[in-house]
Symmetry: C2
Subunit: 261 residues, 2 copies
Amino acid sequence: MSTPTKEPPPSRRIADALRQAIERGEYSAGDKLPSERVLAATYESARNTAREAISILEAEGLLDVWHGKGAFVRPPARMIRLGANRYSHRLRIETGLSPFRAEAQRAGKTAHVEVPDIRRVKPPADVAERLGVPASRRSVVQRVNHYFADGEPVQIGVTYIPWVIAGGTVLATDATDPQSRFNSIYGEFEQLGHRLTKVREEITARMPRPDEVAMLRIPPGVPVIQVLHTGVDQDDQPFEITRFTMRADLNGLDYWLPIED
Amino acid sequence: MSTPTKEPPPSRRIADALRQAIERGEYSAGDKLPSERVLAATYESARNTAREAISILEAEGLLDVWHGKGAFVRPPARMIRLGANRYSHRLRIETGLSPFRAEAQRAGKTAHVEVPDIRRVKPPADVAERLGVPASRRSVVQRVNHYFADGEPVQIGVTYIPWVIAGGTVLATDATDPQSRFNSIYGEFEQLGHRLTKVREEITARMPRPDEVAMLRIPPGVPVIQVLHTGVDQDDQPFEITRFTMRADLNGLDYWLPIED
DNA sequence: CAGTGGTCTAGACCACTCA
DNA sequence: GAGTGGTCTAGACCACTGT
């Protein structure tokens, strides 16, 4: 008795056939797939059925579909690899680069960062808990950062700093001086007596929200990596939290972790 | 002159309306949305148009759609938080738990692990490079692990161990003894003279492949987190690599990183 | 059984790209 | 202009869930 595995419907069968053709290398990165109308004729189905097949592969992240042009096999992207050493004091002093700039440079990309918004706000619950500040009052400064690589937006970072630390300093008012050798907020923290000794990074991934799709210009079938980053100083006090949201196709994390006994 | 921002087509408008209703709390986690036929009538469109709206939200990971039942607001899932301390020698000895079991227990879930396949193979290129073994020969043992939490598959791990280390040992042949206090392959490595002193974890995220969807029973709109894990011993030699693939809605990473000066 | 989602059809019109 | 994807319609039948 063979198990009568129900065969998939036409749209799945077309999708499977195309996926296998891609895997077998019959279509290479950048190649154009047959048009929806051609696929429909080939598989003797309605155009909508062929279209459904294409959209399945698009949601899997295999295709780039361009209105008026066609569907193309998505080429793998060069990734920025974010390591923990990007927070290194020495690296910052020697290169004069902020963490993101240093990593982008290593990936052969040109980076720039914009700080479109700085304001005093009530912190989100998870941030308040980790910083040990009240969620009910405007106890933190919020700094929004947009990160670009080769002109393309690749990350958003929202930093929260307790008002008791940032109040009255440039952290609460200005982007750091682009000319400074301390071209990172960590340079400012050091001058305020907070030396970064360890960080906590809580990582997860999910599909982007529509506003993130718009902001980061995220194509279909690409998730975001979310990192909740906590900076801790020499007195074991958390003094800064940043929530990073990054395109998963352009960013990866690369950590070396010592194993305590 | 106002910018005549083109208004979205009906399917997007329905999707936006439903998304906002969910965000405003008009539908809570677990609530059932109106049926496709009802939505179509409400918005005076064809059923397919309402259906398209539902599938947009499903791809965003907001809905669970059940054949014959309806579309429901997806509730947030309890996550297993995987920290680097799961590799701690002391934790392993004290609890007698493998890394995964220890973390699952902390999340209040019952864990079990299956090792469905152990064999000698040619390593993938990235693995060969990191282990310093030839990719052209069957230079590694490959161990496939399936991880379950509360009976649900949540992770796949494929471990590669150089044949020069694993050959002739239980690493090449058997699952570790479930009764042993060293219920983890790291116990075996220690007996072979490889003490884990640090790990490298290279992290990225992407949409799952169809085989991963089937194996991990991944719902639509849920990405996977991929971790390429390298274990390094007291002599700075990499002795083991595992490629983890995990459902991003059920798993997160939680690392504490010391910052070198 | 009624109600729900899953899939398909055949056709239409629009919007975009490229020669 | 020809070719492509984007969207919609109106209807049909199937498969699954519940009472």
